[in-house]
Structure formats: C-alpha cells, structure tokens
C-alpha cells in the first residue's frame, strides 16, 4: 500500500465522524474581507494594502524540531483535539502537558508529517502519560483536515469514568431536560458544579471542529460554551444543541460555531451538524450575562 493508502487508512480511522456530519460555513462575509473605505481620505493610508493578510510562515522547520517552539506545539495541540474526539466524555478530557520531542518532514507535494513525543494529561483524574503521535497536515487547494495517529497511550485511554458517565446519562435520559442560559464558564471563570460535565461535553464536541479546522497556522482552544441545550433523546443517545466560542491563538480571533451532537457512555460523542456563525462586529454580540 502506498503512502497515500496509509494516509487514507489513517484518515478513516481518525475521522469517521466527518462522513456523517454536515458542516455549514457562512457565505463569504463581506464584512470580514478588507472592505473598500467609504471616505476618500482613507485611500492614501490603505494604498497598496488591499490584499487580505494571513500570518505568513516562511519555509517551515524540517527535521528535528525544538519542542518549545510553535511548530511542534501546534501539531501537538491537534493530537489533543483528536484524543478528545475519540475518547472524551463529560468525565474525561485530555490536555497537552508537554512536547518532549518532535520531527517534521515534507511528504512529496501532499503535505507535512509531524512525529511527536508528548505527555498528555487527563484533566479530571489528573493522570499523565507519555504518548507518541503522528500528525499529517495535507496541502492542497481545498482545506482538508489533519490526520492523526496515536500510539503507546493506552493507559490514559483506559481511564474508567463509567460509573459517573452512566449516572449522568440515566439522570438526563428521560426525566431532566437541560437548558442553560449561562455561559460556561462565566466571565469570572466560574461554572456551577452541576454544569461542569456539560462544559466538558461542549469542549469534546468542539474538538471535532477544532480538529477539522486545524492547520500548521492555527492553535485552537475553546474560549467559552455560550449555550448548551438538551433536545429529545434519540436512539438512546442524549442529544444537544450547543453554541461555542473558539479561540485561535495565531489569528487571535474568536470563531463561533453552532453544533448538534449526541452522547452516550457507550457511543461517545457524535457530531451531527456544525455551522460556523458569521463574524459579528462589535456592540451587542449577545446580551450581556455573567
């Protein structure tokens, strides 16, 4: 099997969800692009500066990477998102602790492959483990999501949160309906303890988006879960509608997404639909609540 075949296989292993979920992006929003100024006195200042600018990366480092520097760090963050999509739950959430070593190489003209040794942290049980991972960023006209493969991370992934997950699942399966107007966390970093598992779920679901959107020029975290609402249970899966604010460290922007997803202890998180919201400029993005 050629390299492409391996990559396809890895892709299938890593991102099967993408075959089922629909994704909507906003129309090319004119307010986001560099609009023509309305007053003539601005033209001299904007002369020659019309092209939309991205943080330009020069030829990316190849070979052994400095684990402190951003190329290895960005690739490692993608591994975090991948782990959360596969193994995350209301009681299991992964964070990147440290990059120990990294290596990058160009793959023909199809992309770049990173090999990483990282330590990963399961946040809730506060357990750490060293893992090895490979991240492939495909290059192409159409933006494709990175492909991730993880190895030697088994202990971490075997962490048992079954009883808590089951209890939560039973509690919300038939009787309770969750609806919160509160942001998670609020402006002060506070979350009600009974909402914490839903904050975690929001992060896990967002990880599908963050994984899909990641490139060598992004570094995503969840800034805030703006809203999470429980819908009617379907096929024994709890179903949720969720509005999240992401943060991309590189551009410093706050992309907003709406998601429809399901969860059960057995099925994990499955994302049904995602939609990026258009960038709202200033003032009343949303009524202010703490």
């Amino acid at each position: 099997m050629g390299l492409r075949g391996v990559i396809v296989l890895v892709g299938l292993m890593g991102t099967t969800w993408s075959f089922n979920a629909t994704t909507i992006r906003p129309e090319a929003v004119s307010t986001d692009t560099f609009a023509r100024p309305e007053t003539t006195e601005e033209t001299t200042e904007q002369k020659g500066a019309v092209a939309e600018e991205e943080a330009v990366e020069d030829v990316m480092a190849t070979g052994e990477l400095n684990p402190s520097h951003y190329p290895a760090q960005r690739a490692a963050k993608v591994v975090q998102h991948y782990l959360n999509t596969r193994y995350g739950s209301p009681y299991k959430l992964f964070g990147l602790k440290q990059v120990q070593s990294g290596n990058a190489e160009d793959v023909a003209d199809s992309g770049r492959k990173y090999q990483l040794d990282i330590s990963v942290h399961e946040i809730i049980s506060d357990t750490k483990e060293n893992c090895s991972a490979e991240v492939f960023f495909p290059r192409g006209v159409k933006q494709l999501s990175p492909q991730v493969q993880v190895s030697s991370c088994e202990e971490l992934l075997k962490i048992d949160a079954n009883s808590e997950e089951e209890a939560l699942y039973q509690q919300y399966k038939t009787n309770k309906t969750l609806r919160t107007e509160k942001r998670l966390p609020d402006s002060y970093g506070h979350i009600d303890p009974e909402m914490t598992p839903f904050w975690h779920l929001g992060i896990v679901a967002s990880s599908f988006i963050m994984l899909n959107e990641s490139t060598e020029n992004t570094l995503y975290n969840v800034a805030q879960v703006a809203n999470i609402t429980q819908l009617t249970t379907e096929n024994d899966q709890l179903k949720f509608d969720c509005h999240v604010l992401l943060h991309d460290m590189v551009s410093q922007e706050i992309p907003q997404w709406k998601m429809l997803f399901t969860w059960s202890p057995a099925g994990g998180v499955k994302v049904l639909h995602t939609e990026q919201l258009p960038h709202v400029h200033d003032c009343e993005k949303h009524p202010k609540t703490n």
């Binding site: 402006s187 922007e253 200033d282």
Partner: protein, 414 residues
C-alpha cells in the same frame, strides 16, 4: 467598624425610606492641619447636612446630593485632595441588601478582595487608596488619556532620588486578559508590603524606581465588562469601516505593518493607520522617551504560560539573545518553583508566532535591554476565563519571576 457604619446607614435607610439616592461618600486626604481645619469648617455649615463617618485621616464623609457641588467646589478651591469612594449610597445599600456582600467594598487596600476580578472604577479606587495609604512610597502619574477619555494611570514606586534607573511593568494591553489586571493589583500591593521585608525587593527599590501601569487599555477593559468579554483591542472607531478597535500590541514602531499583524480593521490583530496612532500606545512611548532611564520593560499578557523576549517581527536574533535567554531560564525556574506551573521561554517569533509592531520589540530597539513579555496562566483549558481563585497563585508565581528579572537588571545596570 465598617459593618457598624453600614448597619447605621441601613438603620437610617429603613427609617427614612430610601433617603440616600445620589448621596456620595468622599474620602478626603488633608495634607496638613490647615487643610484639616478647613474641612472642620465644612461640618459647621449645617445646611450642607454633611455626615462625617470617620474623623481619622483619611476622612470619610457622606455628602447629600444637594451639597455635592458646594462641597466639591470648596475642596477644589482649597486644593484639598479627595476622591469618591461611593458614587451612590442608596444603590450600594440596595445592592448590599440584595447580595449581603459587605466585603466587596473595600475601605482600604487591606480589605480589598485580591482573589476576584474587579471593575475599572474599583481598580482606579484601589490605585488611589494605595497612594493615600503609602504616600512616601507610591504616587500616581497620569500619562495620558484613552481614546474614550479615561485616565491612563501609572503607579510610581520610589524611595527617592531623582530619575533613578527604572523598571516598567504593564498589564491589560489586551482587554480580555483579565488575570493580568488582577495580577497587577497584587504586584502593587506586594511592592508596598514587601519593601523593608523582602531583601531582593528592598535592594531593588533602594536604587531603582518601579513604574506599574495596571490598565493600559481601560476602554477595552470596560467593554469586556459591559458588552463583550472576548474583546481584545482598544475602542477606536475605524473611519469608513463597521469595525472598531486597534490591536495595541501591533501599533508600536517596530516592524510596524509587517507580517504578524493585519491591515484589516475588522481583525483582532489590526495594527492601526500608522505606528503609535493609538493614544494608549503614544502615552507610553512619550513617557519612556521623556524618562530616558528605563532599564527593564515588562509587558504582562495571558494566556499560554510563556516568558518571551524580542524579536516578534523578525527572525534575526536579538543582539543580547543569549543573555536574555539565560535570565528567562532563571526567571522561569523561580516561577515554577512555587506550584510547578510549567512555562516555556524563548523569542516571540520562535515560541508563539510572528508578531509585528509589538511593544517589547520597540523598547528593545531603543536600548532597553531587558525587554520581556509574559503570557500568564493557563494553556487553554480556561484560557481568558481563568477562575478567580487562580489569581493569587498566578500573581504569586509570576512575582517570583519578575523579581529575578528586576534583580538581575539591578545587578547589571548599563
């Protein structure tokens, strides 16, 4: 004591039914006995109906709304320093009755709630209280005004001398990075508490001055409290565009307008129409230029847990890269020693991203060798929404690193 005061006010409120609308409480700081007797004369003007709560300096007095103008004119005419501690007593009483949070309203910097995030006006009050309590060590300099006209306050910590070599620390250049403002407040308190107690800090302050700007971007900070918690830039409208704001850390004259900033006013890294176009930046530039003797310049941001040195706009190594790296290593070791918080360190462009028009690149190019940027907690789990209970630990560990840099500067003055 403060409970007694509030109880008394409440008692009166119950009796007189919302009698305190628009009443303000002034804290008056007479500088000598002459001023003190002038204030005593005020009490004799019965028509003003002043209610002195406290007759020990600083004096607290409740001023009914009908007397506000008269009292203010009187105090200003006689150059008597005062500031407003409570802007509307009735509102405060209503609030307290609702929430029973007497502790939130600090009467001095010892009762200030350091483990919480504060409004802009509370931060300004804190600054004034600190100066009032320690006038021999702390003074306030207003270096300019924000776009929306708010004062840009810098606290100067000095034990004397004249234009001593100085250290500059700033927080809150980006509005949403709340832990930086909160840490700045703690740094200020630490300086006054530790002077005379902590060997390193005492040595530093005996030879150098410290300048601390807790809120570089007050308009943005206010906006994060009232409208959008994720706001980053200042609040300058961009003529011809629907989008507001300039990224104050892309507006400095170092690689200005290059890659690593945006020319699109709708972007969060928009650099502005030209270098130093923003009043918040211009006022620091003017201050640094006219002071002329700043030896270390440290800018506090969040989040990522990093200690960074120049450059951000170019891959060219800083001339002092090796030394800056060594100092960073020591500073990070000190930080980590407290709680084990891991930090990375290196130049901006290699460690986080390419970034042009940044403050420490400008200060470094001006010859301020020890130019550093901190990115405080955390690494993305809470991000900008760091829980308030982490403010203390964050500020405490960061302070250790700051002391390393400041002490190193002291030992290597140039």
């Amino acid at each position: 004591m403060k409970r007694l005061i509030t109880f008394a006010a409440l008692f009166a409120a119950v009796l007189s039914k919302e009698a305190f609308h628009g009443h303000q409480v002034f804290r008056i700081v007479p500088k000598d006995d002459v001023q003190l007797s002038l204030i005593k004369l005020l009490e004799d003007m019965l028509e003003l109906e002043l209610d002195f709560w406290r007759w020990v300096t600083p004096l607290d007095v409740r001023v009914p709304s009908h007397s506000l103008q008269a009292v203010k004119s009187y105090l200003e005419r006689h150059s008597i320093k005062y500031y407003t501690v409570i802007k509307d007593l009735q509102a405060l009483l209503d609030e307290e009755q609702k929430q029973m949070k007497l502790a939130t309203y600090a009467w001095n910097t010892d009762s200030f709630d350091y483990n919480n995030y504060h409004t802009l006006s509370d931060i300004y009050s804190f600054q004034d209280m600190l100066v009032a309590e320690k006038p021999n060590l702390v003074s306030k300099i207003v270096i300019g005004q924000s776009y929306e006209g708010r004062p840009l306050n810098v606290l100067k910590f000095s034990t004397g001398g004249s234009n001593r070599p100085a250290i500059w620390i700033d927080c809150g250049i980006h509005a949403r990075e709340w832990v930086t403002h909160a840490s700045g407040i703690l740094f200020a308190k630490k300086i006054v508490t530790d002077y005379g107690q902590d060997t390193a800090l005492t040595a530093i302050l005996n030879k150098m001055d410290i300048f601390l700007e807790i809120v570089v971007n007050p308009d943005g900070y206010q906006f994060t409290h009232t409208k959008n918690r994720m706001w980053r830039k200042n609040r300058r409208p961009n003529p011809g565009f629907r989008c507001v704001g300039v990224d104050l850390n892309r507006n400095w004259n170092a690689g200005f307008g290059g890659h690593g900033s945006s020319n699109n006013p709708c972007k969060n890294t928009y650099h502005g129409v030209k270098a130093h176009s923003e009043p918040e930046v211009r006022s620091i530039v003017k201050f640094v230029r006219s002071h002329g003797n700043i030896k270390a310049f440290i800018s506090i941001h969040s989040y990522s847990q990093m200690l960074l040195y120049p450059y951000g706009y170019t891959k060219t190594l800083a001339k002092d890269q090796k030394e800056l790296d060594q100092v960073a290593q020591q500073a990070v070791a000190a930080l980590t020693s407290l709680y084990g918080t891991p930090y990375r360190y290196g130049s901006i462009i290699t460690t986080i991203y390419q970034s042009s028009g940044g403050s420490i690149d400008w200060t470094y190019n001006r010859g301020i060798k020890y130019s550093y940027t901190f990115e405080l907690r955390d690494t993305g789990h809470f991000g900008f929404l760091l829980p308030a209970k982490q403010i203390g630990p964050t500020a405490n560990e960061t302070w250790l690193a700051l002391k390393v840099i400041m002490h190193y500067t002291l030992e290597h003055l140039y």
